[in-house]
Amino acid sequence: MTDVPEIEMVHDAPRSGARVGGWLAGCALLLAILVVRWAEVPAEARFRPPTSPLDNVGGLNKTTRFGWGFLWQVREILPAGSTYTIVAGDRDTEMSLFMLSFAVLTDCKGLPTSYYGIATPERGAEARYVLSYGCVAAIPGATSVEKLGDGCIWDRGER
């Protein structure tokens, strides 16, 4: 692939004070907006280290935000190679946590109790461990493994 230059630039293009001034003004305005953006953040929260990548994401529901921390707590407890399912108060939360679990519970296999809002109890029933976000329900026939800050882990035994 050859590239034949059609215009050769040996010298600089002519300089225009108006154009330079215009770009300077544009940059100054953007810098001012940037300062305003940070001024809008409460001073005590401005540089506070977050507890998760989702801490300050606007528009996210709380359960998704806190679910990240829950899953990292679960990661410390679940044995590698085990299967798990996630139950929560609503299908949206279950889906969010199920998706996040792929990032955190990398040594385990997730089987959804619901997927994109559609109940898949037969798949969830194949999982040994039940991660109950918010400890929404006791799991019949399962033993409690751990009660964490944001949820409970249940063991249904070998599947």
């Binding site: 215009i7 293009a13 940059c27 990548p53 998706m99």
Partner: protein, 443 residues
């Protein structure tokens, strides 16, 4: 901390695989950072295509299969081209001048803003946690594209058909850092913009006075540094997308670096599914410009064919893998094409306008549009920017007409700032070239 820094810096090493780009015309005359930037763009694309082909062939990624052949190829190509190096350098802003300080403050502030927004979790793309990072972890652990994950019916949310550039580049960082540092990884959005900045600046300096080129590039950088966090795009595919789109359009407008546009367009199609639309729009803009300026027949074909065929061939590496490994080519989570809710056209237009804030209260868009209006006599020369900027917005209009749910406003507020970033990048780059002195744009 150390693994975080390693992860952030690691992608820059991909420039090793794109060294010939630093000796191609006119990049060989650019500043050292500009030449590095060109090598990074080319290296990222070459690396992605090669690793995708290896996975398609069932070959594991390793030093022997990746680093050795790509480095030898790259150095060999650079040595051949190095003999051809001729010409003068592009000028730089005088150190210590007002322009120099304005650029330094803009770039430092923009970088600081991006990094702080990312590290304080104010710019996180949830998709980074849902699938971009997940794929990268799995690809790095497996030493290849994890087709078992991509074909798992209970992993449809991975959007298996999304092109592989982002997870492949992240996987490179993971392999060097040892793990994915989820929090620090968000700051990679700044690295992508910074990596493209010197190249964009030097391309502009071929048509603008060096001071104007420096300031226009600084404006581009600041505008996108504000827009990316506002669009919650730390960690997702938008930062590389705006880099590739910007470089492709800048190279087409500059006029003598069409090969660089072709390389960047290959990056566009390998980064996002929407990249195919944006690529076609940029190529259409380039062809329309050539037509408007009198190119016909064989000359037109000679100019258009590589611009269309090379990026499609790059995308072909991914399509080949999908075909050979049974990875779905469609996306079950997406709306069905053609089912338009035309009655919502007014709501969609209003929603689009409301969500073009771009983190700068709409200033970035206003400046770009004002410059285009002022330069309207030269619209033909600016078609490579006008067509993708306007065309992407038109595409989004049609896309939102497909939305069937009740919460159109919420959906647009959540997605429009992000999916309009390519259009913004196109408009900013076009505006920068539109501000060139008369006749400097005519090719």
């Amino acid at each position: 901390m150390a693994d975080g820094v390693t992860f952030l810096v690691a992608p820059l090493a991909l420039a090793i695989f794109g060294l010939p780009a630093a000796w191609m015309h006119p990049v060989s005359r650019f500043s050292a950072p500009g030449r590095f930037s060109a090598a990074f763009v080319a290296g990222t694309v070459v690396y992605t295509v090669w690793l995708t082909l290896l996975s398609a062939a069932g070959i594991r990624w390793s030093d022997a299969s990746v680093i050795v052949p790509l480095t030898l190829l790259s150095i060999g190509g650079a040595l051949v081209l190095a003999r051809r190096k001729v010409g003068t350098e592009v000028g730089e802003a005088e150190s210590g001048s007002l322009v120099w300080w304005a650029a330094a403050i803009s770039i430092a502030s923009g970088t600081g803003h991006l990094v702080l927004m990312a590290l304080t979790s104010r710019a996180t793309s949830v998709d980074y946690l849902y699938f971009w990072g997940v794929k990268a972890q799995r690809f790095a652990a497996l030493g290849g594209i994890d087709t078992a994950l991509l074909t798992d019916p209970l992993a449809v949310h991975m959007h298996s058909n999304y092109p592989p550039l982002v997870p492949i580049v992240y996987a490179w960082g993971i392999s060097l850092a040892g793990r994915l540092p989820w929090q620090m990884g968000l700051a990679s959005c700044a690295a992508w913009l910074l990596a493209g900045l010197p190249l964009l600046r030097d391309l502009l300096a071929r048509r603008l006075h060096r001071d104007e080129a420096t300031l226009a590039a600084s404006f581009w950088f600041l505008a996108l540094a504000l827009a990316l966090p506002a669009a919650l795009s730390a960690g997702n595919a938008e930062p590389p997308m705006v880099l590739f789109v910007s470089v492709a359009i800048a190279a087409l407008l500059e006029g003598s670096s069409r090969w660089l546009a072709i390389v960047a367009l290959s990056g566009v199609v390998l980064t996002k599914n929407e990249g195919l639309i944006v690529f076609l729009l940029i190529a259409a803009g380039g062809i329309a410009r050539d037509l408007a300026e009198g190119a016909r027949g064989a000359r037109l074909v000679r100019r258009a064919a590589p611009m269309l065929l090379v990026p499609l061939a790059a995308l072909g590496s991914w399509l080949l893998l999908e075909a050979l490994r049974g990875v779905p080519m469609g996306d079950a989570t997406r709306e069905r094409a053609g089912e338009l809710a035309l009655g919502r056209a007014g709501d969609v237009v209003a929603g689009m306008v409301r969500n073009l804030d771009a983190g700068s209260a709409g200033l970035a868009w206003l400046v770009a549009v004002a410059i285009f209006v002022a330069a309207r006599r030269r619209w033909r020369a600016l078609l490579p920017a006008i067509v993708p900027a306007a065309g992407t917005l038109a595409f989004l209009f049609v896309y939102y007409l497909h939305f069937r749910g009740d919460e159109l406003d919420t959906w647009m507020r959540w997605t429009m700032p992000r999916v309009s970033l390519s259009a913004l990048a196109a408009a900013l780059v076009g505006a920068a070239f539109a501000a060139a002195p008369d006749r400097r744009l005519e090719t």
